[in-house]
């Protein structure tokens, strides 16, 4: 078990006033058998009244609406969590067995899977580790080649990507292999402001695996949200009105 102090902030700035701004944040880490929150506070500026709900995937959603003119939306979350990976999460959903928007393979990715499937044997954990190995040989970690809209198939074609892309490709392979898998967005003691990794279903619980670092998950990883792919886990989604042409986002995170 490990005690983690976490801090995460986002500054969203517009180049002109916006109004009627609706947003949904997925930033409050969910509580489950492997992670408990000892404290957690979320601050949003400008001040706005918000509501908390929980979505279909078990994420905490903070929804709000800012009617008047504003040029920025900042939020920061800090708290303390106990992470204990000797415990098991069992919140299974059958949809995790099926390809989703970001993970649907194209012919290339399908062909790749056919090539390597011969080596994919043993327990679910062994198969997942094998797929993760093959993946790290095939794909090179590189920033700036992909963005948040890049799908598994697109990143695979580039043979390059960041943690999000590694996760999507691994999920795609796992699902092709008949293993249920989900996307995790979170914070970890490694480079990058935010991190993403994968969980696969062993048959009775979830196990975490980090394809970008080709290692399994330990108590250094804090889950912020989970879902079929990146789409279910976007930290902030918003719709706003105004004449702005550009928005800038600054993200900072600290784990200790």
């Amino acid at each position: 078990m490990k005690r983690i102090n976490f801090y995460y902030s986002t500054k969203l700035t517009f180049d002109d006033y916006v109004h009627n701004h609706s947003f949904a944040l997925r930033v409050i880490p969910p509580e489950n058998p492997t992670q408990k929150l000892l404290s957690c506070s979320l601050n949003i500026d400008p001040y706005v009244s918000t509501q908390q709900t929980s979505d279909a995937f078990g994420n905490n959603v903070t929804a709000g609406y800012i009617k008047g003119d504003h040029r920025f939306l900042d939020f920061e979350i800090k708290g303390i969590a106990n992470v204990d990976n000797t415990q098991y999460r069992t919140d299974f959903m059958p949809c995790y067995l099926y390809q989703s928007q970001y993970t649907a393979p194209d012919d290339d990715l399908k062909a790749f899977y056919s090539e390597i499937r011969g080596g994919c044997t043993g327990t679910v954990t062994e198969r997942a580790a094998y797929l993760c190995d093959v993946l790290s040989d095939k794909i090179e970690y590189g920033k700036g080649f992909t963005d948040t809209s890049t799908t598994a198939a697109q990143a695979f074609a580039l043979r390059k990507g960041v943690c999000q892309d590694f996760s999507h490709i691994l999920i795609s392979l796992l699902r092709m292999d008949g293993i249920a898998a989900r996307y995790i967005a979170g914070l970890a003691f490694c480079d990058g402001e935010t991190h993403s990794w994968v969980e696969y279903w062993t048959g009775d619980h979830w196990e975490g695996i980090d394809p970008a670092n080709n290692c399994s998950i330990n108590d250094d990883y804090l889950v912020i949200s989970q879902g079929r792919d990146f789409r279910d886990c976007a930290v902030d989604r918003g719709v706003m009105f105004g004449k702005y042409t550009n928005q800038m986002q600054l993200v900072r995170s600290v784990l200790s």
Binding site: S22, A24, A56, L97, Y98, G238
Partner: protein
């Protein structure tokens, strides 16, 4: 065929022009885009009604109530416990590859557990008189307004046609719809959400708003604050909306939950809905139950959830997914109609009899390669209905969309939209394809 009193009946027919004139006057139109230009057309009305005997209707009614109740149970089950999958009645694949299944709706329980408040069930009558279900429409079935206003106007133009024929008055639809909306109301005014006047069914949206005393709204007039849906009023105030009869598709409903680029949705509507602060008619995610692949399983659902034998029949359907059915489909492909479960609106429908030998072989391979993608059905020998074509009676293909409303009780509207094809060789009855509509008379005895 039901016998009507001829003299009175012919009055309705004779007054066809007057009735169409009245329909014009009251603006009974639908919009269509041709070559990118929006046009409003008057929906051609055929004065010869489809007539359903009291006896026939009683059995259709029972069958439809049963079917819709089972479908509502199914939707609740799928978005919660999934017992029907666990008990191997419906294979898991058919649920999760369906485009209509929305994982985002998992765990949501709408008020009174009703998912499909307004169900449009399409039926056809075979030459032997038997009724068959063609498909279930549990998302946003449209069309009720047309027979509703046509009846109002036919009663003006041809009163004698109704004097002796004991036709059940269908004009209670508005009241029924209002009750259904109220039953789903979570506290606030009733609203109908339209994508705007350039939508094909705009007439219906505005007419139903008028008849039910609901506010007709577009997305930019609405906002969600503190998980409550509000209408923004002209003076800068807000009015709480308790139930939203939305006439836009699921994926556009909330850009923060579904398609991020949707310009016709309401951000955070799903949060308000999940919190039980607003009712949505029909519930998002219903597409999983009216999927072509799921259709096959509806009779099994009826047995599973209600412990009853299905009263209304499906068109005989085969799933190549099952070995036994695959064999039958392979042996009889040239006489079957094959439907691609992923397609809708008349697309992806192939009649085996239309295929050449080579095409047939090619198609066999496609089905073997992707058995889950297709369903096969026997071609039903429809009972044609008479329509007037330049004053002459001719026979044409027609279907019936029955409307089933689920409020405190499940009720079948004693009428329905009968659509017909104007082209003698066509099975396509869609209004966008030049088809017309008829009133549907249910006799009280």
């Amino acid at each position: 065929m039901v016998q009507l009193k001829q003299g009175q009946f012919m009055q309705a027919v004779g007054n066809a022009n007057e009735i169409n004139e009245l329909l014009r006057r009251y603006g009974v139109k639908f919009g269509i885009y041709k070559n990118g230009v929006f046009n409003e057309q008057f929906f051609p009305f055929d004065p010869i009604p489809r007539v359903i005997s009291a006896e026939d209707f009683a059995s259709i009614e029972k069958g439809l109530v049963q079917r819709v109740n089972a479908l509502n149970e199914f939707l609740f089950d799928i978005y919660h416990e999934k017992n029907i999958v666990r008990d191997n009645i419906v294979p898991e694949d058919f649920i999760y590859i369906s485009k209509g299944y929305l994982a985002e709706c998992e765990g949501i329980t709408p008020k009174n557990k009703i998912y499909s408040h307004i169900s449009g069930i399409d039926l056809v009558q075979a030459k032997d008189g038997e009724w068959y279900i063609l498909e279930d429409n549990l998302r946003i079935p449209s069309g009720a307004s047309y027979p509703l206003i046509a009846r109002e106007l036919t009663r003006i133009a041809a009163p004698q046609a109704f004097e002796e024929n004991n036709v059940v008055d269908n004009r209670g639809y508005a009241e029924l719809l209002k009750e259904t909306m109220e039953n789903a109301n979570c506290g606030g005014v009733r609203a109908i959400l339209t994508p705007g006047r350039y939508n094909a069914a705009y007439f219906e949206h505005s007419y139903l708003a008028e008849l039910t005393g609901s506010v007709l709204v577009q997305n930019d007039e609405l906002f969600v604050e503190d998980n409550v849906l509000y209408h923004r009023t002209y003076s800068g105030g807000k009015t709480r909306i308790g139930v939203l009869y939305r006439r836009i598709a699921d994926e556009y409903l909330d850009p923060l939950t579904f398609l991020p680029g949707s310009l016709i949705g309401i951000p955070n509507l799903m949060e308000a809905y999940r919190s039980g602060n607003v009712g949505i008619i029909n519930a998002p995610g219903n597409g999983v139950a009216d999927d072509k692949g799921i259709y096959y399983f509806v009779p099994k659902m009826i047995k599973y959830y209600l412990g009853e034998e299905p009263i209304l029949k499906n068109a005989p359907t085969y799933l190549p997914f099952y070995d036994e059915d695959m064999k039958y489909v392979m042996d009889n492909l040239e006489s079957l109609v094959i439907k691609d479960v992923a397609e809708a609106g008349g697309y992806g429908v192939v009649f085996g009899s239309d295929l050449t030998k080579e095409k047939l072989e090619e198609f066999r391979k496609t089905i073997i390669a992707e058995p889950r993608r297709f369903i096969a059905q026997e071609v039903i020998d429809f009972l044609d209905l008479p329509i007037l074509d330049n004053g002459e009676k001719v026979m044409r293909k027609a279907d019936l969309r029955a409307f089933v409303l689920s409020g405190e009780q499940t009720k079948v509207w004693a009428s329905g939209l009968t659509r017909f094809s104007r082209n003698p060789d066509s099975f396509v009855v869609n209004s966008s394809q030049g088809g017309g509509f008829k009133d549907t008379w249910v006799l009280s005895r």
